[in-house]
């Protein structure tokens, strides 16, 4: 079986696939659609959760952020945790698409499309949470530098302004990149669609793609350029978000390790989410030939690598708390270990440090159930990491008189669960209407394999 072969001997595309079979398989998923009743039920569940999310957002808009578990001193609650978490998840997509493209890692081909979709949906959901967090979300445009009669601009020293630009840029570039990747496939769908409506819609979206050599030449150049443009964003988004915290004077926030730490954490959670999605997709849509154990092995190794940077960051936080000699900083770390929120901290440590080590074993990396379990646990632990950072730092900061805890409400839970539902809902729509694996790039793989001796 596969598990007995060394990693590089497992192909990224199982033998036996041809141009035709690849194209048939992928376009059939879109054009014929799922017929299984289970899938429809699942979709209805996602829809319900997405509606729950919408309901919770409307409630918070209508009645105020006081519905959520926030107070003074913990003025930032779950919405901020969710922003950071979702943005983190949205991170791996760009890395896989752009950076691995530039590094000519061909194995990225079968996962980049849905990883990019994941990125866009996750980043989009992340971008919704600041609105939920704001006291007066209808005035969000004060963050935008627009000419106004009062001569007012955003306050440029504030990391929140940079944050706004970082997220907006990231989403825009991600969408461009994703859409460009889709164009040849949309043309394929246009050509294969039977219903006139689909022909028109896909035809419109395909932007007149005919697959001429000139098209391909421009296409490839532009794709590489976009990849180059997107690459710095892998680093910029999460490091800028980390400045929301690092640029304050709050012990537990105020730390120079935060930018790289956040990026590493984002990559870790991003890869975990890719794995979390890839495992069920592979089984549900018969993609065993396209997403092979080699992919999982590679992603597990990336998880391990980024995970180690996260572990290093944890260590550095504690070291500097001690080394700074600052009693407030020290107390925050001690309070994380033994304070009222200690269970969250230890659960985070268990997931991100202990469970991660399982990936040293090839057996785990190549066992889908085990790998899936590890990925889900780390996803949860990464959420807890952000929770620990956001909540525990201010709940006991400088003056003991203002020490207090905040506990989450049902609305917080509804927003988090609802956002997961919305994410799955969007992913489901994506799978239904767009090819979840890049058809043309798979065809390239087929060709490459045929070219091999």
């Amino acid at each position: 079986m596969a598990a007995e072969r060394p990693a590089d001997r497992i192909p990224v595309l199982e033998p036996g696939q041809t141009y035709a079979s690849v194209t048939d398989h992928m376009s059939a998923l879109v054009l014929r659609g799922p017929t299984r009743r289970g899938l429809v039920a699942l979709f209805l569940l996602f829809t319900a959760l997405a509606i729950l999310f919408g309901y919770a957002v409307i409630a918070v808009f209508a009645r105020g952020v006081g519905l959520l578990g926030v107070n003074i001193p913990v003025a930032w609650g779950w919405p901020i945790v969710n922003v950071v978490w979702w943005i983190g998840i949205g991170h791996a997509g760009t890395l896989i698409s752009a950076v691995l493209l530039l590094l000519r890692q061909r194995w990225r081909t079968s996962i980049n499309r849905f990883a990019e979709a994941m990125t866009i949906f996750a980043a989009g959901i992340a971008a919704l949470f600041p609105f939920v967090h704001l006291g007066r979300p209808w005035l969000f445009y004060y963050l935008v530098p627009y000419p106004d009669t009062m001569g007012l601009w955003p306050q440029w020293r504030s990391a929140l302004v940079w944050d706004f630009f970082a997220i907006a840029t990231y989403i825009l570039v991600s969408i461009l990149f994703w859409y460009q990747g889709l164009v040849p496939d949309l043309a394929t769908l246009r050509d294969r669609a039977v219903s006139p409506l689909r022909q028109r819609v896909y035809g419109f979206l395909a932007l007149g793609w005919r697959g001429s050599a000139r098209h391909w030449e421009h296409y490839e150049t532009n794709y590489l350029l976009l990849a180059v443009l997107a690459t710095p964003l892998v680093v910029s988004v999460h490091s800028v978000i980390s400045l929301d915290f690092a640029a304050t004077i709050v012990p537990g926030y105020h730390s120079t390790i935060f930018p790289p730490y956040f990026v590493a954490g984002a990559l870790l959670s991003g890869f975990c989410m890719v794995v979390t999605l890839a495992v069920p997709l592979r089984g549900l849509f018969g993609l065993e030939d396209f997403i092979t154990l080699r992919h999982f092995d590679r992603m597990a190794k990336l998880m391990l690598a980024s995970g180690f940077f996260v572990i290093y960051s944890y260590a550095v936080e504690f070291f500097f708390a001690w080394y700074s000699g600052d009693e407030f900083h020290r107390y925050v770390q001690i309070n994380r270990l033994f304070g009222p929120y200690a269970p969250a901290f230890w659960a985070m440590l268990t997931g991100n440090v202990l469970v991660l080590q399982a990936l040293w074993w090839r057996r785990v990396r190549r066992s889908l159930p085990l790998l899936f379990t590890v990925a889900v646990i780390i996803n949860v632990a990464m959420w807890l990491e952000r929770y620990v950072i956001v909540i525990t730092s201010t709940h006991r900061d400088f003056l003991p008189s203002m020490w207090d805890s905040a506990s989450a409400t049902g609305w917080d839970a509804a927003l988090l669960i609802g956002s997961l539902g919305l994410f799955c809902f969007l992913m489901a729509l994506f799978i239904r209407f767009l090819p979840l694996i890049s058809i043309y790039e798979m065809r390239e793989l087929v060709r490459e394999r045929e070219a091999e001796p």
Binding site: G135, L143, I249, F398
Partner: protein
Amino acid sequence: MPSLNRRELLQMLGATASVAGLPACTREPAEEILPWVRMPERRVPGEPAQYASTLSRDGYGQGVIVRTHAGRPTKVEGNPGHPGSLGATDPQAQAAVLELYDPDRSRTPIRAGAREATLADFDRELEVRLDRHRQRGGEGLCLLTGSVTSPAAVAQLERMQQSMPAVRWYRHDALARDEVYAGARLAFGAAVETIYRPDRARVVLSLDADLVGTLPGSLAYARQLVSGRRPTPGDPSMSRLYVLESAPTQTGAIADHRHALRAGDVYGVARALAVRLGVLPQGERADIPVAEKWLDAAVRDLEAHRGAGIIVPGDHLPAAVHALAHAMNERLHNAGRTVLHLDPVPAGAGSENATLASLTDSMRAGSVETLVMLGVNPVYTAPADIGFAGALTELEYSVHLGLYADETAALSRWHLPEAHALECWGDLRAYDGTPSLVQPLIAPLYGGLAALDVLARLNGRKETAHGLLQEFWRPQAGSDFESFWREALETGVVPADTHGRVNRTVQAGLERRLPAPGPVDALELQFRPDPTVRDGSHANNAWLQELPKPLLGLVWDNAILAGPQTAARHGVVDGDLVRISHGGREIEGPVIVASGHAEGSVTLMLGYGRERAGRIGNGNGYDAYALRSSTAPWVADGAALEATGRRAQLARVQQHHGTEDREPVRESALHEIGALAEEGGGGGHHESLYPGHEGSRYQWGMAIDLNACIGCRSCTIACQAENNIPVVGKQEVARGREMHWIRVDHYEQGSGEERRTYFQPVPCMHCEHAPCEYVCPTAAAVHDSEGLNVQVYNRCIGTRDCSQNCPYKVRRFNWLDYNGYESGRFRKLATPAPQRNPSVTVRSRGVMEKCTYCVQRISAARIEAKKDDRPIADGEVVTACQAVCPADAIRFGDVSDPSTAVSRWKADGRNYVLLGHLNTRPRTSYLARVRNPNPSALGDDDDGR
């Protein structure tokens, strides 16, 4: 009627209809509206006017100056010229403007069983009954009032007793100071009022007395005591305060030496002191729970400062302790110097046969036909053992005058709405007997009657309260009544001193008259008035409900206080519901473990568990009156406490009371005060990458003297009244969302004799390097040219980054629609619009707010100064917190001018800034606490905590 034709019938019908319509013609007749030809003086549209008046502080007068905007009273300030205020007020006075506009106030007369009733109906009924009573010299007519300190009302009562000798006048005041007068009788043979002059004292020994907190003269005492406790490195002199107390009080918190003991043990200790001072004969060696050394040191100190010491016993202690205190003060030559005697201020104080218990007996015996209750709520506040409510239900005819249709109103035949103190004429005596006038600031909103109006009716007089008041004061005025009256109204103090000081000496043979000290064994039960709602009469006031109680930080509830060991013995912790039983009655309430509370004793707070207080006051807390007996109203022995296993939710504004060795409050012993100056103010290093702010002429700053602060939290509620700060309710406070702009932090440290309690008022620090400013993405938090850190509400979108980055956590956020504009949830808590200060924006949901240093007052002063073309003088801008402070602990002014009061404080060696190492450069700074312990080594022992 045989010959009634159709035409006549119609005529008669028409006439009947028009006559029937007449009484309904209560609308003002239509009149032409004309603008002022000549503007009345001092009425400038938009400019507030101020009037002196008097508000009651548990029956005693405190002089106030009330600010009105366009005829609406909006803010109460203390009257510096009034001895009971000295410029300060208690929290209840601050909340009076909210009470005035309370929509739950009673609005119409209510007659039991009738659907509608009018005052005219009442007058008709009363007249018939009064005629009957008058024929019998007033027999069967009874009057029940609270403590009456109003000279005009007393005159009316006396007049009534003259014209109807058989009328009986009973007094019931849940907080009556009966033991004080009984103690004086025991010592002097006559009831006297005792007042103190802590400003003349070098040594004060409190026997379970809350000198700066709850005594009638506390506002003045706090100011006077603190005036002797402001040492500087240049002039290190300071009075010394010894406190023996059962439940933790504000006085104990600022003491130099404090020892906890049960209230029942105080008598034994007082005897031991008396023996040492030679008041009682030697030979008595009782077992007392205070170290000999402690007492010896205190006694030596008192003897070393003869004539400059005070021994002050708590109001709730038995008469014998008061008598001993009188004897000791006399022996130490304090009497006449620091301890002064007057005739009792409340009329008939201390008389023993006019109590509620004897009234109830008469009611049961059937000798009461008509009972008139003025401004009291005995059904709620009566001791549980006398069964007043039952007797009242049986009574045929009872009349209740009250602000609210309360528990008593429900059982009375007639309820009449009472006019609020800000709506009617009257007068009150202060704790030292000084009379002052109550003048109305607004016509009665609901057409209520003053107590004087009812007394006039009982006397068959047609005069208004105003008429009766003038009638009383006219003979006192001398020749020129008009100028006398005008001066009394303008200054807020009646110029004629009608309440003389008396000189009393302790009658011989005191030791024979004193009871023998008895043992205290079982659990002791104490009753105390609640610090905010007092006896419960303020229960429907949302500001007071949400004002954190000193030392506890508790809001919207009362609790049962127990010492840590007592709590541990019963296995209860904070918030556990316990059952307290005593004398066959029991109540259930939540426990708060109060470190510093005497062991073997629990303290219950009165004033809660109301059923008919109104929408705000109903159903909060437990009713301690249900355990109170008429024989032992303050301290009872032999109670039992058992845990119920259930818990109650308590909302407290502060969760941690330890300092975690972070020294938010600096402290030094008096003899080491120089070291404070050497240590420096913690201003931090002054390097910065950012350019400094451009300065303008004035640079505002504040300094707070922590050695003066008594933790009363008047500043908190004064700020609330001034700055339109919303009330958020118990649930929101429990979630950490209280809105008060200035909080008073409370810390406890150490144990035994070394146990220290600190208060620290924390408004916005107005940092020059404000962490809130640079993180705000929309520039809503900005610095102004006068050094104020200002919040632009319009620009705030509610990211709350400013609060996250504020190391002092002084910012407050409108999490929900706390002003009740949108939803129903906060509407009942919302402050009625007429009270709102028109100079301060009401903040909407989703906006951050915080202390502004009362920027509207700065603006007002600036405008005044500009009109006169002069600079703003020092002391012209007084913030709301500063104005109300009884201890004068806050100074505000221009810090760029070294001659201002605030600059002088900041130049003091005690000055320091909070968290100075962060280099935030706060404009608000603190003067360190100073402790003045007795050098003759106290403190190494420590059984008491």
